[in-house]
């Protein structure tokens, strides 16, 4: 009954507890409890929404347009599931990985920030209040900056700083947009806005608000070419943070885009009356190719995956740009799939980092023989990333192709396939090095990572395969 | 190496089929069978399927001529298509 509130509050309290006790193991333990609890809550919420429809929860007992309302429909129940699911799966893995890369005294802070970020992302997804969205967005962003800055690499600091600037610019744009909307309508409730905006949707301030929101959200979701902050941020942060952020942060931004355009601004007709579909379409295609090609030339595998994220986001926004049922299905499915795949890939690369101490591709020669499970997982997720049948990646690309076909865009289908081929190039590079080269002396001494790291990764690998076969949930 | 090996062995081989006389014998034997089959046609009820095959000896003649035609045509094609063994250097 109070699940919507608990969804956000549990990680929040847990974050405070972690910071209060400042004991590395206790913090981890609290984190694991809180994250799995919120995952369970997300599942319950999704089930409730599926059976009973939209859930509305009024914070502080104030009635909707005035008070803050948490409102959960199928879309954000799904996003909650993605975020809390990825958040929960990563934690068991985190203990070993974090204790290696971060000093003991700092670890509890890391977990605290992890939970804060989780709180923020869940809050953004669950709330029905525009200003509340901004607040939670800032909570999650600030926590992410800290996590990135705690990375093992000194460049993490610069990356975090850049991310801070860009994230703040984005958030400011969003708050300006929200402010303009508030000035015009006098309400902050998304669903109230949705009622009032159509009456004035062609007035200048509303259009300006739309522009600010579009740019702000594009920045947050790393839409090409506003993605520049992302590669460094993902590359130099601790493996756990990379996996978590790659799996969730951009997905939540995509949710915001969907929410603002398709709920607040009155749906598909309005969306198609703006120039946004065309812009989104072109930018998506650019992202799919430019970022993928950049990924091919990366020597740092985490940067490679980060650029691949930018490309995959291109796939998602491509689906959105069609604004058809199939296109959106593809986009949302790919959002879900990409969360699983990228989180899994970053976890596995984190595992490599754990043993090898490097994420340079050339250092990984022959590692497939020494860490067979890790690399096997990598290959499976890589296959999924490039859309091999039997994996989740195939499902979403399938729908995207269908959406393109529906519009009669043959060439777009060809481009989707071609972009997937570029994906094959960079995944293939890793596979080639990992399996077909003789192990170096350093690699020769490695052994497989502990099962506490393998199991969570393989949970995601399993999910990638399972949802590739059973599509009832994601489609 | 193996080429020379083949050449060398031909002269001193002792196989039954390698002997000139024996290969002639085979041809004679085949010819005999063919003549027999040709003659047999006069005694068997013919059931033509296509019209052209009701001519006596059609199948035999067609087999003989067709085969020779195929082999000669192959000769020509071979001139056109034959390349050194290591043509595809991959």
């Amino acid at each position: 009954m109070h699940l919507p509130a608990l969804q956000v509050v549990i990680p929040l309290i847990a974050a405070a507890l972690c910071a209060l006790f400042r004991h590395y193991f206790l913090a981890w333990f609290i984190t694991i409890l809180a994250s799995w609890l919120s995952f369970a809550i997300a599942i319950l919420l999704l089930l409730q929404v599926m059976s009973r429809g939209v859930i509305s929860y009024e914070l502080g007992g104030w009635v909707a347009p005035i008070g803050i309302e948490y409102r959960i429909d199928l879309l954000n129940a799904f996003v909650l599931l993605i975020v809390s699911g990825v958040g929960a799966v990563i934690v068991p893995y985190a203990q070993k990985s974090i204790s290696q890369s971060i000093e003991k005294s700092q670890q509890s802070w890391f977990y605290s920030m992890y939970l804060m970020a989780l709180t923020g992302l869940l809050g953004v997804s669950i709330t029905g209040d525009a200003f509340n969205i901004f607040v939670f967005l800032e909570i999650s962003s600030l926590a992410s900056y800290v996590m990135i800055a705690m990375g093992p690499d000194r460049r993490g600091l610069t990356a975090a700083y850049q991310y801070l600037i860009m994230g703040t610019v984005g958030a400011t744009f969003i708050v300006i947009g929200i402010g303009l909307l508030w000035a015009m309508t006098g309400t902050l409730n998304l669903y109230d806005l949705a009622q009032k905006i159509p009456l004035i949707e062609n007035s200048r301030p509303v259009l300006a608000a739309l522009a600010f929101l579009t740019v702000g959200i594009s920045l947050k979701l790393a839409l090409f070419p506003l993605h520049l902050w992302l590669p460094n941020a993902y590359a130099y942060s601790p493996g756990v943070a990379s996996a978590f952020l790659a799996g969730t942060a951009t997905k939540v931004a995509i949710y915001l885009l969907l929410r603002f355009f398709f709920t607040v601004f009155g749906g598909v007709e309005f969306f198609q009356s703006t120039p946004l579909p065309e812009i989104l379409f072109v930018l998506s295609l650019l992202a799919m190719f430019a970022a993928s090609i950049v990924a091919v030339f990366q020597s740092n595998i985490k940067r490679m995956l980060a650029y691949s994220s930018v490309a995959q986001i291109g796939f998602i926004t491509l689906g959105i740009s069609y604004a058809t049922e199939i296109g959106l299905t593809g986009a949302i499915a790919h959002m879900f799939n990409h969360a699983i795949m990228k989180a899994g890939l970053f976890l596995l690369i984190g595992a490599v980092m754990f043993r090898l101490g490097s994420v340079k591709i050339e250092d990984m020669a022959g590692i497939g023989r020494k860490m067979p499970f890790t690399m096997a997982g990598f290959v499976i997720l890589g296959l999924s990333l490039l859309g091999a049948p039997g994996t989740v990646g195939f499902i979403s690309k399938w729908y995207l192709a269908l959406a393109a076909l529906q519009e009669g865009q043959w060439w777009a289908v060809a481009l989707i396939v071609a972009a997937s081929l570029v994906t094959m190039l960079y995944i293939g590079r890793v596979v080639e090095v990992a399996y077909f080269r003789e192990p170096t002396v350093k690699v020769d001494q490695l052994r497989e990572v502990p099962s506490s790291m393998l199991l969570p990764s393989f949970l995601l690998v399993g999910a990638a395969v399972y949802f590739g076969l059973d599509t009832s949930l994601s489609v | 190496m193996s080429d020379n090996f083949t050449e060398d062995k031909i002269s001193n081989s002792t196989g039954w089929l390698a002997k000139k006389i024996n290969s002639s014998k085979i041809i004679w034997l085949l010819s005999l069978i063919c003549v027999f089959l040709f003659v047999a046609e006069f005694f068997v009820h013919r059931h033509a399927e296509m019209g052209v095959d009701e001519y006596i000896g059609f199948y035999g003649a067609y087999g003989l001529i067709g085969s020779i035609f195929l082999v000669f045509l192959s000769h020509q094609i071979r001139k056109l298509l034959k390349r050194p063994e290591d043509f595809y250097d991959d």
Binding site: A5, I13, A16, C18, A19, L20, R22, L59, G61, S112 | -
Partner: protein
Amino acid sequence: MMRDTIILRVVVKLLLPVILIFALYVQFHGDYGPGGGFQAGVAAAAAVILYGLVFGVSAARKVVPQGILLALIPLGVLIFAGTGILSLLLGANYLDYSPLGSYPKAGQHLGILIVEVGVFVTVSSTMLAIFYAFGGRAEDALVSEEENE
């Protein structure tokens, strides 16, 4: 550090209680008018920061030790969130304070006060922590420079 400016030192000492009291006023008046835990927290932190600016961060650290600060930050959050949980336990929606008092209005008064205390604690201690982090570094650098000379 402004060791030699006696005027400043005296004025600051005089101002400190005033600032703190003003902070408390803002804190408790937030219920009725402009103000609240956030502003009050900043004001309270400003008092200590001013003290630190004039008498040195190490002096300020003696007044409010870093360790306590780091505990206070999450504690404030806990007070805030805990109140919400409490209202949940009492059968209302999250952050609905009505059941906290004997009648709804009293409950709401009490609730908002507690929550604002939580905000106050977190905000003031966070501000201070940031000041310590930056100001402390400058001072440490200065000290090491002096040692080098």
